[in-house]
């Protein structure tokens, strides 16, 4: 297998009358935690939907684990956590995970670990509908972890979580990467960028920059990534003019 888990060339997506991704080229390295960063509305979710094969694309190629995105065999190897927690509110934590384990074709022994990884131990019998927003998001994440997929696509998994939990989850992401998984994690919070091995900066449907956090800081001479992002936006604006 090549070292790129995801390879995207000339990707264009049109939603309604608007083009939301304008010819994206990027690679996501295997075995790394790659952060997909950008403001709300920059096209992060659309890009992730392309990777999991849920998005109709207008042009370009998306290759995932050396196969065209959306190939049936990839459904066993790619885990996807949508931005809105997609679990059943009228089932308990355990019942939700029983179902997703059965769908993914893995045994129930995987559930206890997934629950402890996302820190929901003790809430197994609680109805998902009565969980807090953060707990619900973690349940949704647990469902994506069950079959230990080769590629995890996580859409804003840490939004609304307290700092301790966020730190723990990023720790989990890196442990999964050490075991060989590739993670593509989106966030609109720049202070999470430093927790990633690689960064992809998206703005208005264009890829602004990519590289390690150090590279981006070095390239712009900025002290922190927020400033680096602004410098890159200005640079791109100057290029347009």
């Amino acid at each position: 297998m090549s070292s790129a888990a995801i390879s995207i060339r000339g990707l264009r997506v049109v939603r309604g009358a608007r083009e939301v991704l304008h010819g994206i080229d990027l690679d996501v390295d295997a075995g790394m935690v790659t952060g997909l960063l950008g403001p709300s509305g920059s096209g992060k979710t659309t890009l992730m939907r392309c990777v999991v094969g849920a998005q109709v694309v207008a042009g370009g190629a998306v290759t995932v684990l050396d196969l065209p995105a959306g190939e049936p065999v990839l459904r066993e190897r790619v885990g996807y956590q949508t931005q809105a927690p997609s679990v059943y509110a009228d089932l308990s934590v355990l019942e939700n995970l029983w179902y997703f384990a059965a769908i993914l074709g893995v045994g129930r022994e995987t559930i206890a670990e997934a629950i402890s990884v996302v820190g929901l131990s003790g809430l197994e019998r609680q109805l998902a509908g009565t969980l807090s927003g953060g707990e619900l998001a973690r349940l949704s994440l647990a469902a994506a972890l069950l079959n230990a997929p080769d590629l995890l696509v996580l859409d804003e998994p840490t939004v609304g979580l307290d700092p301790v939990l966020r730190r723990d989850l990023w720790g989990t992401f890196h442990r999964l990467a050490e075991r060989g998984a590739t993670l593509l994690v989106s966030s609109h919070v720049m202070d999470e960028a430093d927790r990633c091995d690689r960064l992809l900066l998206l703005r208005d449907g264009h890829l602004l920059a990519s590289g390690t956090p150090e590279e981006l800081r070095g390239r712009t001479g900025a002290a922190d990534l927020d400033a680096a992002f602004l410098a890159l936006v200005d640079e791109a604006g100057a290029g347009d003019a």
């Binding site: 094969g53 679990v87 089932l91 179902y99 769908i103």
Partner: protein, 243 residues
Amino acid sequence: MRRTGATALRVLRQLRHDPRTVGLLLAVPCVLQVLVHELFDDRPRVFQSLGVPLLGLFPFVAMFIVTSITMLRERVSGTLERLLTTPLARFDLLAGYGLAFAVVAAAQATLVSLLSFGLLGLESGHSAASVVAMAIANAVLGMSLGLFASAFARTEFQAVQFMPAFVLPQILLCGLLVPREEMAGWLQAISAVLPLTYAYDALARLASDAPLGARFWFDVLVVVGVTVLALVLGAGTLRRRTP
């Protein structure tokens, strides 16, 4: 097969967490049947002619509504999008729903049968078990039509309106209220293309003590055929890739 079973179990578990819905599903048809019985208290022949068809049509209406709402919720909540990125086949999902609602329909029809045949003195020419079996077939028909209809609803308000839009005309024209032969020609023509007409005809034949005949089996064939057709069309509306 495993995934079909898991889906059916999941749908039943969701229902179990909603005892009020289960109570309504089981109690409402019984109450309605008692109402019809009391309404025609001094005209027992009317109850005898309405009782069996009603028993077989309740599950159709109930499952149509329940399925269109549940499926819409799957679409809106994002669980459908998630399921379609997993190895779950669309057939597993549809068959799982069908299986779960067939179980509910069996419970519903059995309860109304016990009440109607046991306490209300309803009689049918053919066995109560065959009436229950037909009721289950109608429930699965209602489920598959509800599933198909849910693709055209964006909100739960719209989905609820599909009941009067899809179901009421079929009940009006199926022959239950006015025999089809007495309808105007154009109404008969419409009636002939509505699946509930055949479901009703089969139930009416089960109620009478005449032999079932070939027409009964043709009715059953139409009910099963339309169910399969609606499921195939419904599966077509479950798109893995959306704009």
